[in-house]
């Protein structure tokens, strides 16, 4: 290869490597801040600030959803199977919100460690299948991830 072209090739490699390293360092410095939400385990360990707007994400615990009879108030628990966080919320929940499903709640933690949510989002997972397949899986005793129930 022509020496000048070789020099330009090294320049190109340098640009790519250098910018990757720079981006890598920035992401390393920001690592915790890029996460959209805290898992309940980190909240339990006191890593989430109290009184500040934060998000907590996890699975909605089965049979934990308690709805009010005369208002839109709802309380439920989020878990990452290590710790639980109680969430209270008043408003309309997304269609895909449900027990045993992922959800992300935004709000502030109070002193008791309860998240007073101002917004609840449903988190969809990567499993896509027709209802018959889901039904068949249920019949055979496996969940959608192929794990025995």
């Amino acid at each position: 290869m022509h020496p000048i072209r070789k020099q330009r090739l090294y320049l190109v490699l340098f640009i790519v490597l250098f910018s990757s390293a720079a981006a890598g360092l920035v992401m390393y410095a920001l690592s915790g801040n890029i996460n959209l939400f805290f898992p309940p385990a980190e909240v339990a360990r006191g890593m989430a600030p109290v009184g500040q707007p934060i998000r907590v994400g996890g699975m909605v615990v089965e049979n934990s959803v308690v709805r009010s009879d005369d208002s839109l108030a709802v309380a439920f628990e989020l878990t990452d199977y290590e710790a639980n966080v109680t969430v209270v919320y008043e408003g309309i929940l997304p269609d895909l919100f449900g027990e045993g499903q992922g959800a992300v709640a935004a709000g502030r933690l109070d002193e008791q460690g309860v998240l007073r949510a101002t917004e609840v989002l449903a988190k969809h997972d990567e499993n896509y299948m027709p209802p018959e397949v889901a039904h068949a899986l249920e019949q055979s005793g496996y969940d959608e991830k192929g794990k025995a129930q």
Binding site: V12, V16, I34
Partner: protein
């Protein structure tokens, strides 16, 4: 091998071969696009949890996949134009940018439309969505930077450097859902291991991804042909071509 590389650098040859490829690829692409759309939107079963709203996957995922792949095409073209000073690589790089921007925009808009009924929000600043927005700005940045220079050579150089710096964003977009907690779900199509999307839904999706690659290639080649004609407007072969068309 090298003679092919040298031929690629010849504007009339590239103009002609690009025309031939488009003539064959475009009908195939359009058929694949129609079949994929009808198959995906009408003939697949609804999802067990999302119902029919999941069908936007047949537009969203192909647009996003090709937007990422297209960036590498642009970056490689940029690197070739920097190293070998090949004008046709510069043409390819410049022609990629608006198509990539359009695909990224489609991915973002369809994602927002899907997000509202599924997540309960149009937009959330999670790692995947934010890095995808940065990709849109990178594509638009290349378009804008190219137009900001009067001198084509300086414009090409500046844009090539910008595209190379931007390549770092592509693996970040791809891995963002695994590296950080995000609202966006991880990939359903997996290169290793079983995909977590039912085969009956996967096949039309793969067809749509192939069709979007075809759309990208056709748009790119047609863009390049137009750009070549514009740059070579004063040469004899273009003048001859214009006369042939008039006759």
């Amino acid at each position: 091998m090298w003679s092919f590389f040298h031929k690629l650098g010849s504007p009339p040859w590239l103009y002609r071969i690009a025309g031939t490829i488009v003539r064959w690829l475009l009908p195939v692409t359009l058929v694949a696009l129609c079949v994929g759309l009808v198959w995906g939107l009408l003939y697949t079963a609804p999802d067990f949890r999302q119902g029919n709203s999941y069908r936007i996957i047949y537009i969203h995922v192909p647009a996003a996949v090709v937007a990422l792949a297209g960036y590498y095409v642009m970056a490689i073209a940029g690197a070739v134009s920097l190293i070998w000073k090949m004008k046709m690589a510069d043409v390819a790089m410049k022609s990629c940018a608006p198509i990539g921007a359009a695909l990224t925009f489609i991915a973002l808009v369809t994602g927002a439309i899907w997000g509202k009924p599924t997540w309960g929000t149009w937009w959330v600043w999670d790692a995947r969505i934010t890095s995808m927005l940065i990709l849109l700005f990178l594509y638009l940045g290349v378009v804008a930077l190219y137009e900001a220079y009067d001198n084509k050579e300086a414009a090409g150089k500046a844009c090539a450097v910008l595209t190379l710096v931007g390549t770092v964003n592509i693996p970040i977009i791809y891995k963002s859902v695994d590296w950080w907690y995000s609202l966006h779900q991880p990939a359903s199509i997996k290169f290793t291991g079983d995909s977590t999307i039912d085969p009956s839904m996967l096949y039309p999706l793969l067809l749509m991804i192939a069709a979007f690659y075809g759309v990208f290639t056709c748009c790119l080649l047609m863009n390049m042909r137009a750009e070549i004609l514009e740059r070579e407007a004063r040469t004899n072969w273009v003048k001859k071509l214009a006369l042939e068309y008039r006759a």
